[in-house]
């Protein structure tokens, strides 16, 4: 049984290898958000599934994956036929892969999409506006399986919305807020929360680089830039100006958690 990860064996190369060897069986791709299967006969795709998608649409979605574990099982096959085998189909698949290379989307399709407030005038087509309205709170993978658009079309729209800053792709990890005691930082700084370097590294590992900190007091929440510092266990350091704005003082217990930027 052939197995690996798409990060090491890109799907196109994998399909071409199987095609060259005229293999039959199923190539199963296990993405955290969905399972994809490509059935082959004599090296040619005859059927594909990805989530609720079938046929070429499923293949189109799978072509956009940059990483996911896969395995090829030559023992399994199916009677379903959703893809016409042949040279044209092969060219179409190659074209799909090329089109994905021109789309700029985060590699991590488990990220959650969140609409951002519009800053200044922005022109959106009715289609783009409707996608923007639909994808709020969905994972990137879910948004790509749009009912009205093919995965590639959806990807192109989402890519534009992300580029314009109208959408944000945030990590959906559930991280328990950390109770931390406020410590005063002196100087003219603002918008910074100093946390212990070990906690910083742990959260960075979970959320990824460039995360922000959310801080919850009794009656409000704030977003701050994290700054790692040594010997800050159990503490969060805030500048005097932020303390005044948040109506906080040294020694107060607050809840802090990381969020992908």
């Amino acid at each position: 049984m052939l197995s690996g990860d798409l990060a090491e064996f890109p799907l196109l190369r994998l399909l071409e290898t199987l095609m060259g060897a005229a293999r039959g069986g199923v190539l199963r791709i296990e993405h955290p958000s969905f399972v994809g299967s490509i059935y082959l006969e004599g090296g040619h795709p005859v059927h594909a599934e990805a989530g609720r998608l079938r046929g070429l649409e499923a293949l189109e979605l799978l072509a956009g994956l940059k990483s996911a574990p896969f395995c090829f099982d030559s023992e399994q096959n199916t009677r379903e036929r959703s893809i016409e085998p042949g040279l044209e189909t092969h060219q179409l698949i190659v074209h799909q892969f090329e089109a994905w290379n021109e789309v700029s989307l985060p590699d991590n399709w488990t990220l959650t999409l969140q609409a951002c407030s519009i800053q200044g005038p922005t022109q959106l087509s009715p289609l783009e506006a409707s996608v923007l309205a639909q994808v709020q709170g969905k994972s990137l993978a879910q948004a790509l399986m749009n009912e009205r658009l093919s995965p590639l079309e959806a990807a192109q729209v989402l890519s534009k919305l992300l580029r314009l800053g109208l959408l944000e792709a945030r990590n959906h990890l559930v991280i328990e807020p950390e109770p931390l005691v406020v410590l005063t930082l002196y100087g003219g700084g603002q918008g910074v929360a100093a946390i212990d370097e070990e906690l910083f590294a742990r959260w960075q590992g979970l959320v990824g680089e460039g995360f922000v900190l959310r801080l919850r007091t009794k009656n409000q929440e704030a977003t701050l830039r994290p700054q790692p510092r040594i010997n800050m266990q159990g503490r969060v350091g805030l500048f005097e100006r932020d303390l005044r704005q948040l109506r906080l003082s040294r020694g107060v217990l607050v809840e802090v958690w990381p969020e992908a930027r």
Partner: protein
């Protein structure tokens, strides 16, 4: 010249006027380099320490909290010198000595602040979480390999001085107080003190810190219980006592008074020496001893621990001032001018509703706290010199001396240890002078919100 004559000579030098002048000049230099934190950052210091007292059990991680480290230092500092020594300063220099004591305290605050800052900045942290720090470490790593001998000298002085100021003198004071006021046999006192000190030192810094955070508040409560009734008794004379502090600061003449009942005339030199001497040696600023405790605090920035140094000085100043003003207000100082300071203190506390027993109890508790902290200081000095293996032999020797102390004797050793205690200041003051600029830089960085960057380990 035999060893004791030499010791007397060196002792006079290290506790003499010239050395006092050096203390004051170093304190002034550090005040300048650090931007007079004792005046301009006092509000921040109080907010960071007493204002954050509810966080006293909150650590920044590591072995002991900043509060506990300050308590260890304060437990050593606030000792019998704050009671008997303070009465002694007034007996020697008259009421005016108090003003000069205040001046010395004010200058010394910058010294203690800098010591705490440097102690945290240069401390060595080991993989098991333990910490070694203090002047020997900031001399070695702040001044470099070439000055390692000076660091070793400080450690040696500390390790030996602990047997005198931190052991024989203190256990002797406990023994004398308990024998005199409560008829406890010195051998029994020695056994109990040795047992307590032994158990506490065996537990390492955590155990010493737990004890200190209990004994320092107890010391302060006992002091208030001792002094408040006397203040109430002499309340009417307090304003006059305060006025006398200022009016007799430059010179003093009493037509007839003093221990001998003769006319007494005190010049500025005598008043200064008595006052400044108390203002320097009562709080240990410049000796470097407290830095050994402050180094243990796990804190995000050395300057934050420095504020505990300032607060420590303020509390020490409050105790000595209340003691001095009450003594002056009682009028007893005139009778005992130039006389015995212990007798003078006993005469003062004879007016207390609980009698002289209150003084005995207070001195015993004060001395006990000092002893435990100094045991730790000495052990750290020895560990710096000879490695971790020396800890248990040192502890056992320290405990043995604690047992012997209340029974008296060993005067020669106490005297030599006292000289070494004074000598501790020399390497420390050299390091403070050399590293004053660094302390200033750390202060500026702290107040501009920059995170602390510990020095690279070599």
């Amino acid at each position: 010249m035999d060893i004791l004559t030499l010791n007397d000579y060196v002792n006079r030098a290290v506790y003499g006027e010239w050395m006092m002048l050096v203390f004051i000049l170093v304190g002034l230099y550090l005040s300048l380099r650090t931007g007079f934190p004792q005046l301009l950052r006092l509000g921040v210091a109080l907010r960071e320490t007493l204002g954050a007292i509810r966080e006293r059990f909150l650590s920044f991680g590591g072995q002991i909290t900043p509060f506990q480290a300050a308590m260890v230092a304060m437990s050593a500092t606030i000792g019998t010198g704050h009671i008997i020594g303070m009465v002694g300063a007034v007996v020697l220099g008259g009421p005016g000595a108090v003003l000069w004591m205040w001046v010395a305290y004010l200058v010394g605050m910058a010294t203690k602040f800098s010591e705490a800052v440097l102690a945290v900045h240069f401390r060595r942290q080991y993989t098991d979480g333990s910490v070694l720090g203090g002047p020997m470490v900031y001399i070695r790593y702040g001044l470099g390999r070439r000055m390692a001998w000076l660091a070793a000298l400080f450690a040696l002085f500390t390790a030996i001085a602990a047997f005198g100021i931190g052991n024989l003198s203190q256990s002797g004071a406990v023994g004398a107080a308990l024998a005199q006021e409560f008829n406890v046999p010195p051998a029994v006192t020695g056994l109990l003190v040795a047992l307590l000190v032994g158990i506490l030192l065996a537990g390492g810094i955590r155990s010493v810190a737990r004890f200190a955070q209990m004994i320092v508040p107890l010391k302060l409560v006992l002091f208030l219980l001792a002094i408040l009734p006397l203040i109430v008794i002499h309340l009417e004379s307090l304003p006059a006592a305060l006025a006398l502090v200022f009016s007799s600061a430059l010179s003093f003449q009493a037509a007839a008074g003093g221990a001998a009942g003769a006319a007494v005339s005190l010049g500025l030199a005598e008043i200064l020496k008595a006052g400044v001497g108390r203002g320097i040696f009562a709080n240990e600023a410049g000796l470097g001893s407290a830095a050994i405790a402050h180094a243990q605090a796990q804190v995000d920035h050395p300057v934050r621990q420095g504020f505990w140094g300032l607060t420590e000085m303020l509390l020490s100043l409050t105790v000595t001032t209340l003691m001095a003003l009450t003594f002056i207000a009682s009028g007893l100082w005139q009778r005992f001018l130039g006389g015995d300071r212990v007798e003078a203190a006993r005469a003062l506390f004879a007016e207390h509703p609980l009698g002289v027993a209150m003084l005995g109890l207070m001195l015993a508790v004060f001395a006990l706290g000092t002893m435990v902290s100094w045991g730790f200081y000495g052990e750290e000095g020895a560990a710096y010199l000879f490695g971790e293996g020396i800890r248990w032999p040192y502890r056992l020797t320290f405990v043995t001396f604690a047992f012997v102390g209340p029974m008296g004797g060993l005067a020669a050793l106490t005297s030599v240890a006292d000289t070494l205690n004074g000598l501790m200041a020399i390497p420390n003051l050299v390091a403070l002078l050399a590293l004053g600029g660094l302390v200033g830089r750390l202060v500026r960085e702290f107040f501009s919100g920059m995170p602390w960057q510990p020095p690279e380990e070599d």
